[in-house]
Amino acid sequence: MAETRQPLIQIEELTKVFYTDEIETHALSGVHLTISKGEYVAMSGPSGCGKSTLLSIIGLLDTPTAGKYLLNNKPVENLDFGDRSRLRNQEIGFIFQSFNLIGDLTVYENVELPLTYRQKMPSADRKKRVMESLERVGMAHRVRHYPSQLSGGQQQRVAVARALGGHPSILLADEPTGNLDSRNGEAVMELLQNLHREGATICMVTHDPRFAKHAEREVHLFDGKVVAEEELQKLMADVHA
């Protein structure tokens, strides 16, 4: 079935180097990765291996130092800031570890926020989308609440609704359960799984193997490279030795 799917994200020989105070950090050194439409990919690896960096490049928050990145078959590695903003707004839905809801805005306004950055979207359409996504995450009854009046799990569901509202091509989640207790964490994972069943493409960073199992496919990152599962075990063993 995977062969018949269309590739959504194609990454080749991707590198990212950070330069800080004359220190070069090779966060990514030659990553190859393809994510197809409708796929649910979990990304895991030890802390500092470059997961967030890769996710931010996939999410067009950052640009690679070198390498190729095709999004929907279009090269995006050299887009300028404005084009990346626009694409990010239309194609990417972010779910962050710390929810990142804006405290001064209500639940409704938080979900509406990305839509307000779109040109020419009538407010009636916006409203429809916002309510639709809040219903999908089961938070439609809390539209007037402020984030501080919600539990962590509820906040993360609102954040998911915000990511869904723009009808993105892919949902990117960076340790979405990292700030949640296990019960709330399970609930959010269930939500993602449901979304995947309904056809969403998801790429999630997690270091929790239980949650990684929810995904169709697991990608292991080690020291800025994608490695096979067995290789990872070996490498980890070396590190601990």
């Binding site: 967030s52 996710l55 931010s56 999410g59 928050l61 950052d62 800031f81 404005g82 903003s85 626009r86 990010r88 707004n89 239309q90 990417i92 972010f94 962050f96 570890q97 710390s98 990142n100 804006i102 405290g103 001064d104 926020l113 990305p114 950055y117 779109r118 915000r162 723009g166 960076d174 990292g178 700030n179």
Partner: protein, 803 residues
């Protein structure tokens, strides 16, 4: 005490640690405090310092009060009656209406300003002659002055400060006078006179009850109130009225404190400036409060720690206040330096008609005021932050203090402060705008004559009753010779003369009757009056409307002629042909005069006053001894000065020109007060705008720094740089708009006090309000643009970082 010293040391260390914060706060405070000290030092010198006379509160200024005017002068016979009959005053004295130039012949001839004064005049003010004596009653018993008292300046300059000058003979306007005394100082508050002559009470001119020509002062006996002295004066006035019904009907004396007369007119403008300076300081305080609030947020952890260690709230408030007062005192010190420079500028460029402005300086009183205001400022702007931070510190203890953040109270407070700043600076800008527009209007009023290429100088052909020119015909002959010589000079287009310059300092009116009309006893019509030569009209380029102008044919022996202006024709002969009408002027050598022409109106007293009815008589028929020559040059009129003086000397080597000025300068001087006030308020308003812009910048920049994370999230969600720019600008513009709304309200109320200073501009002039609001919005939005740009550069990656 030891604790306080420790607090101060700690505060200083804090300030040193944050040089950026300290610099901005100190400069802001210095501007606010400096402006206040500068204005205060002017107010202190002009208004608050006692008058330079003994027991000045006993001194009273007296005007004649008639149905038509309460600013009339007093006639010599009336004065003598009041002097003799009053019981309320320990002394009553007069001086001449103004100082006039006389020709003093010493080593070289020169013009000096002389004035007459009655016996005891100086003693009444509380001045004792430095050498010799002042005028006595017996000095008054003469037809022409026989003695003179030298002013201090003249004595120093012309007589080398020689104490043996007493008894020396000086020659003034052809008469020999004996010097009897020297004054210990000149009297700049009262007059420019350099030399004093006694009132010659036996002179026929000094025995006309309608000749209102003297300024009267009196010193109240101790314990006598103004009401009591008024009753005393009124009783005398009623008796004189009964005795001289033809001249003294409805004639009373109006009293005012001398201080009120001398200083009252400048009070509104000075208080206005002080108000502006105070508002500026308020804005500075608001700015520093905001800076402190932001700083204290970053020190919350430290305060929480102190609270945990047992510091009481009072202790923390004291410490915070010590910090703010220390800051204010540093600002105040720098402010004193700024004020020193400002006062120097005010002294040099302030209007010449503000008395004692030149003596303003930063003295001990001002420094004391400075210290007080700095202390107060420090407490005002330190109080709220101090309570805020100490309150939150003891409430939070250490628990939540780890993360510095802006509390709701802080946010509201700093928004409110910035809104207030914007409102105040709008008020100042509107005031400045109104004054500037009014000034602009004023300078675009056509004075009715052309000032360019005209030079003017004073010429004294002596006091009336003595010397070689005591006959008007002789004066006219002098003029004729002088005029012919000047006309022959290269570069001279036309030459003329007038007894009083328009927009100059002195003006004369002359009562008259229109033959055929009925008048009650001591009832007259009245109009401005000038004696002019034929050349005057074309030098000044005043248009001739009707009939003819004064010509060379109008000599002493030809029929009396007079020319009036349009305002005169409209006022006294409405809907009638004014030409051929006759006027009977009081004190005129001619029986009546025929109106032979009508000329355009000119601004006589100031550009802002309506046109006064005015009469012009031929100089040759009615030649006064003091004239102002006016010369229209082909080139720069200043180049003619030496040639003009040479021509005067050529006719009579004892006569000199004085008071040489261009007519442009005369015009300039007449608007020096409105120019000064509009410019000064303008500078204050611009400073206020600058501070308000800095204030809004600070608040917006602080908000941006607090919202970096939020902005990153928004960008991660697809906000473009423009979206973020707009977000921040909208926040700043929101504050600015609310501030502007409040500012409009405040301006409508505040500009009412300007009404009396405005010329042809309404205090709620919508154009000014709108332009000023647009300027304010543009500037404050410009100030917001800097942090907004910074916000737009936030790296959206911050959204992914979890701390």
């Amino acid at each position: 005490m030891r604790g306080l010293l420790q607090d101060v040391r700690y505060a200083l260390r804090q300030l040193r640690k944050n040089p950026g914060f300290t610099a901005v706060a100190v400069i802001t405070l210095a501007l606010g405090i400096g402006a206040n000290i500068a204005i205060f030092s002017v107010i202190e010198a002009v208004l608050l310092r006692p008058l330079p006379f003994k027991s000045p509160d006993q001194l009273v200024w007296m005007n004649g009060k008639l149905p038509l005017s309460d600013e009339a002068a007093v006639s010599p016979p009336d004065f003598r009656d009041y002097r003799q009959d009053n019981r309320a005053f320990s002394c009553l004295a007069v001086m001449g209406y103004s100082a006039g130039p006389s020709n003093l012949v010493g080593d070289k001839p020169e013009q000096v300003l002389t004035q007459i004064a009655s016996a005891n005049f100086f003693n009444c003010l509380g001045m004792r002659p430095l050498v010799g004596r002042e005028f006595t009653l017996s000095d008054e018993q003469t037809n022409l002055p026989q003695v003179a008292v030298l002013g201090y300046g003249l004595w120093k300059r012309d007589f080398g400060g020689d104490r043996n000058v007493i008894g020396r003979t000086i020659r003034i306007d052809g008469a020999d006078l004996t010097v009897v005394g020297v004054l210990p100082s000149d009297l700049p508050l009262l007059t420019e006179a350099q030399l004093w002559l006694p009132t010659p009470m036996l002179n026929s001119g000094m025995n006309v009850r309608l000749g209102h020509s003297l300024k009267m002062i009196g010193r109240l006996r101790s314990g006598v109130t103004l009401q009591q002295s008024q009753a005393d004066l009124d009783a005398i006035a009623l008796r004189l009225q009964k005795q001289y019904p033809d001249t003294n009907k409805d004639w009373f004396i109006r009293q005012r404190r001398l201080r009120e007369v001398l200083l009252g007119p400048t009070r509104p403008i000075l208080l206005l400036m002080w108000g502006a300076a105070a508002l500026l300081l308020l804005i500075a305080c608001a700015n520093v409060t905001n800076l402190l609030l932001a700083r204290f947020v970053s020190r919350q952890k430290e305060f929480a720690l102190r609270a945990a260690l047992g510091a009481s709230r009072a202790r923390m408030v004291r410490e915070a206040l010590t910090g703010s007062v220390t800051l204010a005192l540093i600002g105040g010190t720098l402010g004193a330096v700024i004020a020193y420079g400002t006062v120097y500028l005010l002294r040099s460029f302030g209007p010449s008609d503000v008395p004692r402005l030149g003596s303003s300086n930063i003295d001990l009183v001002v420094l004391g005021f400075n210290f007080g205001i700095s202390l107060l400022t420090g407490i005002i702007f330190g109080l709220f932050p101090a309570f805020q931070v100490s309150g939150s510190a003891s409430a939070n203890k250490l628990k939540q203090a780890g993360r510095a953040s802006q509390s709701v109270g802080h946010k509201r407070m700093s928004s409110a402060l910035v809104i207030g700043e914007i409102a105040i600076s709008l008020t100042l800008l509107v005031s400045a705008g109104l004054l500037l527009k009014s000034f602009w209007r004023l300078t675009h009023v056509s004075p009715g004559f052309q000032t360019d290429h005209v030079i003017t100088a004073k010429l004294s052909l002596n006091a009336p009753e003595y010397g070689p020119y005591n006959d008007p015909t002789q004066r006219a002959r002098f003029w004729q010779q002088f005029e012919d010589r000047v006309k022959a000079l290269p570069g001279v287009e036309e030459v003329g003369a007038t007894s009083a310059l328009p927009l100059g300092a002195t003006h004369y009116d002359n009562p008259f009757h229109i033959p055929g009309r009925t008048y009650g006893p001591s009832d007259f019509d009245d109009a401005q009056f000038r004696q002019v030569t034929p050349g005057y009209l074309s030098v000044m380029r005043i248009p001739l409307i009707q009939g003819r102008w004064i010509g060379r044919q109008d000599v002493a022996v030809s029929p009396g002629a007079i020319v009036v202006n349009q305002a005169f024709a409209n006022r006294f002969f409405p809907h009638k042909n004014v030409l051929g009408q006759r006027l009977q002027l009081m004190g005129d050598p001619q029986q009546t005069r025929e109106i032979v022409g009508v000329v355009g109106n000119v601004s006589l007293i100031s550009l802002s006053e309506p046109d006064w009815p005015e009469m012009y008589a031929p100089y040759a028929q009615y030649a006064p001894s003091l004239i102002n020559i006016v010369v229209r040059a082909k080139g720069n009129p200043i180049n003619l000065v030496a040639a003009l003086q040479a021509q005067v000397s050529a006719v009579d080597k004892t006569i000199t020109l004085s008071g040489v000025r261009s007519m442009d300068d005369v015009l300039e001087t007449s608007v020096s007060q409105p120019r000064f006030s509009s410019q000064l308020i303008g500078v204050f308003a611009l400073l206020a705008l600058l501070l308000a812009a800095i204030g809004l910048y600070g608040v917006v920049a602080y908000s941006v720094s607090q919202r970096t994370n939020e902005i990153g999230i928004r960008m991660a969600l697809g906000a473009s740089r423009q979206d973020v720019l707009r977000l921040v600008l909208r926040y700043g513009a929101g504050l600015a708009l609310i501030g502007t709304a409040f500012g409009f309200g405040a301006s409508f109320a505040a500009t009412r006090v300007l009404t009396s200073m405005l010329f042809e501009v309404s205090a709620s002039d919508p154009q000014t309000f709108l332009i000023v609001a647009a300027l304010l919005m543009a500037v404050v939005l410009g100030a917001c643009y800097i942090p907004a740009r910074r916000a737009a550069k936030v790296d959206p990656m911050v959204a992914l970082r979890y701390e």
